[in-house]
């Protein structure tokens, strides 16, 4: 087992997917996907629904088998869920019968931390995500935004080397989402890990990420990879008007839509991306 010294691993590759293929019946959900995440970097995967971005995340989380290719997490071949990874789920994945406190403590408890360590870390992350005063409430008693704060705290609490986030803010309203972006970046600055962030929002991807991978659907392939040329720390309300932000957004947008003739995004979008997936392999 290789040790990870936080920033010290930044030159290594945290995740390497090579030729990852996943089929449901005859349909290829993922078709020879290559993807790497640099240690300590924040990578977003974006693409139309059905492009397999969530499936890719589930593969790296060890929740889904693959039909071909290889996934390495810190140079170790993946066999099922790994304690190196923690997942933040789209629907929060909180246990409704546990208080927010016990939800945050969950990973620490099952991973065999001592009682004192569980208490100390749980308290710390409760504070860090701003749940103090609500920690004894149950998930059904608080807003979606607060539930996902608990989801974030639970994932960060186990000090993962790789954090996998599956459209974690898709279900909350726009204002809450912006504040959660800021929270996530703040926490991530202090508890650096490699992040794979799946989203369907171009803005969200740019605001948060170092790198962005754009995927196409039917079959799920990597179309392009971008590096976000914006310095950190970032403030969402400031960077959204910067030329670097707007030009990158335009570029990704046109990549996602470039054969879509005037239809609304959605099904027609998918069909367009599907039909040109073969020629869509961009550098």
């Amino acid at each position: 087992m290789r040790s990870s010294g936080g920033v010290a691993v930044s030159s290594e590759l945290a995740v390497q997917c090579s030729g990852v293929t996943k089929r449901f019946g005859a349909q290829a959900i993922l078709d020879a996907v290559d993807l790497t995440i640099r240690g300590g970097s924040f990578l977003s995967v974006i693409g139309p629904s059905g492009c397999g971005k969530t499936t890719l995340l589930r593969v790296i989380a060890g929740l889904a088998d693959i039909d071909g290719g290889e996934v390495l997490v810190h140079d170790e071949r993946l066999r099922g869920p790994s304690r190196r990874c923690a997942v933040v789920f789209q629907n929060y994945g909180l246990f409704p019968w546990k208080s927010l406190y016990n939800n945050v403590a969950f990973g620490l408890v099952v991973q065999g931390e001592s009682k004192a360590a569980v208490r100390e870390k749980t308290e710390y992350f409760i504070d860090l995500v701003g749940l103090r005063g609500h920690e004894h409430k149950f998930p059904y008693e608080v807003s979606g935004g607060m539930q996902q704060r608990a989801g974030l705290a639970r994932a960060f609490a186990v000090s993962p080397e790789v954090l996998l986030m599956d459209e974690p803010f898709a279900a909350v309203d726009a204002q809450t989402r912006e504040s959660l972006h800021a929270e996530l970046l703040r926490i991530w600055e202090h508890h650096r890990c490699s992040v794979l962030f799946v989203t369907h929002s171009i803005e969200e991807a740019i605001v948060l990420s170092d790198d962005i991978v754009v995927m196409s659907a039917n079959p799920g392939r990597v179309l392009a990879r971008f590096t976000v040329p914006l310095p950190r720390p970032r403030r969402e309300e400031e960077i959204v008007n910067e030329p670097a932000f707007t030009s990158l957004r335009r570029e990704i947008w046109s990549l996602l839509h470039h054969r879509d003739r005037g239809g609304s995004p959605g099904a027609s979008d998918l069909a367009a991306l599907a039909s040109n997936a073969g020629e869509g392999d961009r550098p």
């Binding site: 060890g62 869920p81 923690a86 789920f89 246990f95 019968w97 990973g107 991973q111």
Partner: protein, 295 residues
């Protein structure tokens, strides 16, 4: 009618006033409403209890009037039952019988509960057990358990053991089936959460499967208590005649109708108490569940 008219007048007045004198409008708007709203809510709750009490009173009065005019062997009025209740309470007969019944009930119910939950969990956990157990469960579930009671007496005699076994059997099935259903209908997404945090099998059961089965088990408890009370009385009919069922049987045999009604009323009260306590259990342990909101 005048109420409606004055309310409309108040509304119009408020509309006009709020244009000219905001502070006066506020006074008008705030004053009448809260008492009104609170009052209607309160009176609705009161109305519910009034109707309830009224229905019970009407029933008792009708019973009283009718009961006084029929053969006392067939039916006695409530006052006679209350009198008899007092007598049996004073001479200790009722409490002795209740104690004997409750002893069998508690042991039998506890045993049936533990066995039902345990087997339900094992059933849900191991596919092999599922395959093996299914025909037996179907056969026993569709068999009226009462048909087995004479057999139990043959096996376990006329004493406490037979009573306990009968009550346990009556308790067992609703608990077993609900536990199985609860433990096998766990949210797949939450099982995945457990997997990603590296839960062992046992940890998954402790943190995910069992907690998510608890609302089902509590719902089963409700049904099981009814079954257990039935089992308790049937057991007493077939075994030695102590306990509440024994009084019913002996009193009926000797045409002491008022005396027969006393344990029946006691059973009703027992039912109300136990159902009430399972409801409290639900609000304590399954507050989070939508399942518990159905009742």
């Amino acid at each position: 009618m005048s109420g409606v008219a004055s309310e409309r007048a108040a509304k119009v007045g408020k509309g006009v006033a709020s244009m000219a004198h905001p502070e006066r409008a506020e006074g008008q708007a705030v004053d009448p409403r809260p008492p009104n709203g609170a009052g209607s809510r309160l009176s609705r709750r009161h109305a519910k209890w009034l109707v309830r009490a009224g229905a019970i009173a009407a029933f008792l009065v009708a019973w009283q009037v009718y009961g006084e005019h029929v053969n006392a062997i067939l039916l006695v009025p409530p006052t006679a039952i209350v009198g008899q209740f007092g007598t049996m309470l004073r001479d200790g007969v009722l409490l002795n019988a209740l104690g004997a019944s409750l002893e069998a009930l508690v042991i039998g119910f506890g045993g049936g509960l533990v066995a039902g939950v345990t087997l339900g969990v094992i059933w849900a956990r191991f596919a092999v057990v599922d395959w093996a157990i299914q025909p037996f469960v179907s056969a026993l579930w569709s068999t009226p358990l009462i048909a087995l009671v004479p057999l139990y007496v043959l096996w376990f005699g006329f004493g406490l053991l037979a009573q306990v076994m009968i009550i346990a059997s009556f308790t067992f099935f609703p608990i077993l089936l609900n536990t199985y259903q609860g433990a096998s209908s766990v949210d797949q997404a939450l099982l995945e959460v457990a997997r990603t945090y590296g839960c062992t099998n046992w940890q998954t059961w402790k943190h995910v499967t069992i907690p998510s089965a608890i609302p089902y088990i509590l719902a089963g408890l409700n049904v099981a208590i009814g079954h257990a009370l039935t089992g308790m009385i049937i057991a007493e009919f077939y075994t030695n005649a102590v306990g509440l069922g024994g009084i019913v049987l002996k009193s009926a045999d000797t045409f002491q109708t008022a005396r027969m009604f006393v344990p029946i009323v006691t059973l009703m009260l027992l039912g109300i108490v136990t159902i009430g306590s399972t409801r409290r259990l639900k609000s304590r342990f399954a507050k989070w569940s939508t399942l518990s909101e159905q009742k």
